[in-house]
């Protein structure tokens, strides 16, 4: 357990210092890393809901989009400061999750689909409620991240720090929840819901709480993206890829681990855009699909556990 504290600490150090120094001046690479981290943030939130809440969601784009729109509209139309608006974006996503709560009674795939339906509904509402959301045209020139303490967060490096912090905080929250009594109850519930109900664990309320947390994180990430890309429209905000890519990333990286989703997101996005796209400009998405298939068949628990296994095997061999 002690070694586990050094390793993450090292990683965090690398992320905050080494990466900007190494590639901070290459706008293009930074854009990719920021996009990968955005996906990673949603992936962490998705995995949290999946592991602690026991619910697989197929419509996290719903929370992402709501967070994006709330934050963008507050800064664009109501003049709110960006960071306050981002938190409000998270809050908006929470309200959206409350609307979806009746679906918590449903089992597995049914819950997944119900959330998907909600994502579609929100997208259509965003198109129709023109007076609030500016309709199908969307929003252009959304304000950028502000300058804080002399450091302009509107730059690529600035944006990188913000999303990195958001994701790491989310992971920390996830880790804390997992080892708390609440987390233990939830994990137990995962295995036998009936038994835990008898013991007195308020399962639905806990699940609802996980949904709220997951939605909040996703909403804040969505709000971040709005201020990073400075553009929003219903199709983009609620696009299926905000649902799909995080799932692929979480599964790929190992959704039962804390770091899995983030690692998965970085690997999938960066390798796809930097490597596959160079070799197969037209068909590189196909490789992604093939990778996913291979991963599920060969190592369903994901990449991180696979690597861990290989590392520990090596260590044992040395002993």
């Amino acid at each position: 357990m002690r070694t586990n504290a050094v390793f993450p600490g090292l990683i965090v150090f690398v992320l905050y210092l080494a990466v900007p120094v190494a590639v901070g001046h290459i706008d293009y690479v930074m854009s990719l890393i920021i996009a990968a981290l955005t996906i990673g943030g949603i992936a962490v939130a998705w995995a949290l809901l999946g592991n602690l809440g026991g619910m697989v969601s197929f419509g996290h784009a719903a929370f992402f989009g709501v967070g994006s729109y709330v934050s963008a509209l507050l800064t664009l139309d109501a003049g709110w400061p960006v960071f306050a608006a981002m938190l409000a974006g998270g809050a908006g996503a929470v309200i959206a999750s409350v609307v979806t709560m009746p679906a918590l009674r449903l089992r597995g795939p049914y819950f997944a689909l119900a959330i998907l339906a909600f994502a579609h509904i929100f997208r259509i509402l965003a198109t129709e409620l023109e007076s609030i959301t500016h309709g199908a045209g969307g929003l252009l020139s959304i304000p950028v991240l502000p300058t804080v303490a002399g450091f302009d967060l509107g730059t690529k490096i600035g944006g990188y720090y913000v999303i990195l912090t958001i994701v790491l905080l989310a992971m920390a929250g996830y880790a804390w929840l997992r080892q708390s009594t609440m987390g233990l109850a939830l994990l137990a519930m995962h295995d036998t819901e009936d038994a835990t109900r008898i013991v007195g664990v308020p399962s639905t309320r806990l699940k609802a709480l996980m949904l709220v947390v997951s939605a909040f994180i996703t909403g804040v990430v969505g709000a971040f993206n709005a201020h990073q890309i400075n553009f929003l429209d219903p199709d983009y905000a609620f696009s299926g890829s905000w649902t799909v890519l995080p799932i692929v990333a979480a599964i790929f990286g190992g959704y039962r681990t804390i770091s899995g989703p983030l690692v998965g997101a970085l690997v999938i996005y960066l390798v796809d855009q930097l490597v596959f796209k160079e070799f197969l400009p037209h068909g590189h998405e196909i490789i992604l699909g093939a990778l996913l298939v291979a991963m599920i068949v060969l190592s369903p628990t994901g990449l991180v556990p696979l690597v861990m296994r290989m590392v520990t095997r090596g260590r044992h061999a040395q002993a």
Binding site: S31, D233, K277, P281, E285
Partner: protein, 392 residues
């Protein structure tokens, strides 16, 4: 004797050096980002072909003087990837950018170009806001007004009194439909608007509603290829009693004529050139030939736009290079000074980068051809009116 020989040799050497110097070719790096995969793959590829033709023709015309190297990145119909593509191209040192399709992608992408100080020219985004951001380097050769002028002009000439417009509820199509509605109402023509969801596959309920309730003289369609096919199929079954079916982009094309021949007979759509293309000017002939040589097919409107925007850009680049202002931001000035007669008509940019002279033309599918029927000075034939595919 020796002195004369030496002078001759020296003169020869200088002449040779002069010749070599004059033949030093300058390479111009041109960047382009387009949706080559994803939802807009079809239109992105079409535009890319036009851009490639422009580059090919330019290189041949300027052989020995300038050589353009085109770098194209697929933005996968994704705004974030388009921004990344622009940044990558800026990092590689491109001189300017041509391309982009979809106002929702062009918006962020051109912002990135603006931040990098690069000129950005496009024909794929007609949203009004795009030219209202104060970007000095943003240019586009077409806009919503131009499409609306054509549709309205045709309907006016037809003398219809009431039009039902069916439009896809996406941004570009909604914009155009509303602009057309305003323009037509100003002319005293009654307009009924019907928005439909892009995922609609069965248009019968909608067309039936129009047939039984609206009782219009003509039906306007503002959408994409699959929308037109769906509406026309519904029309074939319901046979509404109207005098004309009028669409906008992607309809009066050779592809629609070949693949959906019977379905599109007598249907109107916007088109710059007739089909088979009767290219009269030498430039147009060469354009068509190069297109055929490179891609083995006839150019369509996307290729035409891609070609014109890139040709104008390259000409401005050469002018700026010769004036020595290319590296110091003089390209935008040169481009703004453009006043040219091109394949798509007159192009002149205003201070927002818009081309106020852009006015499309209307073509009609007549048999195996697409005949230009509006405006009169560009027409290659007369319109068959009143007529619909089901009244034949």
């Amino acid at each position: 004797m020796k002195n004369k020989l030496r002078t001759l040799a020296l003169a020869g050497a200088i002449a040779l050096a002069g010749l070599v110097g004059a033949h030093a070719e300058e390479t111009i790096l041109l960047g382009s980002h387009l949706p080559l995969t994803g939802k807009l793959a079809r239109v992105g590829t079409g535009m890319h072909e036009g851009i490639a033709v422009a580059v090919d023709m330019f290189n041949r015309q300027n052989e020995g003087k300038y050589k353009v190297e085109l770098v194209t990145i697929d933005d996968e119909t994704n705004p974030a990837k388009a921004v990344a593509a622009v940044e990558k191209l800026a990092g590689e040192g491109v001189v300017a950018l041509t391309g982009g399709y979809g106002s929702n992608i062009i918006g962020p992408a051109s912002e990135a170009a603006n931040k990098a100080g690069l000129v950005y020219i496009t024909s794929g985004g007609v949203a009004p806001e795009l030219s209202k951001r104060g970007h000095k380097g943003f240019f586009r050769i077409n806009n919503t007004e131009g499409y609306s002028k054509a549709m309205m002009g045709l309907l006016k000439d037809m003398g219809v009194k009431k039009v039902s417009i069916l439009y896809n509820n996406k941004e570009a199509t909604t914009d155009l439909a509303k602009t057309v509605e305003k323009d037509l109402s100003d002319q005293g023509i009654e307009v009924v608007l019907h928005a439909f969801d892009g995922a609609t596959s069965d248009f019968k309920p909608l067309v039936n509603k129009v047939k039984l309730q609206d009782k219009s003289d003509a039906i306007g369609m503002v959408g994409y290829e699959n929308d037109y096919v769906g509406i026309l199929k519904a029309g074939t079954v319901l046979k509404p009693d109207v005098k004309a079916m009028v669409g906008v982009w992607s309809l009066a094309t050779s592809k629609m004529n070949e693949e959906f021949h019977d379905l599109v007979q007598t249907v109107y759509g916007t088109s710059m050139l007739p089909y088979p293309a009767e290219f009269t000017s030498p430039e147009a002939k060469e354009f068509a030939d190069t297109y055929q040589k490179l891609f083995g097919k006839e150019p369509d409107y996307l290729g035409q736009f891609g070609y014109v925007q890139t040709k104008l850009l390259l000409e401005a680049i050469v002018r700026a290079q010769q004036a020595g202002t290319l590296a110091t931001g003089g390209l935008a000035e040169e481009l703004r000074g453009t006043d040219a007669n091109t394949l798509i008509g007159r192009v002149k940019f205003d201070e927002n980068g818009d081309n106020p002279f852009f006015s499309h033309r209307m073509g009609q599918h007549q048999g195996d051809k697409v005949v230009l029927v509006w405006p009169e000075d560009a027409a290659t034939g007369k319109m068959i009116f009143p007529a619909t595919p089901w009244s034949q």
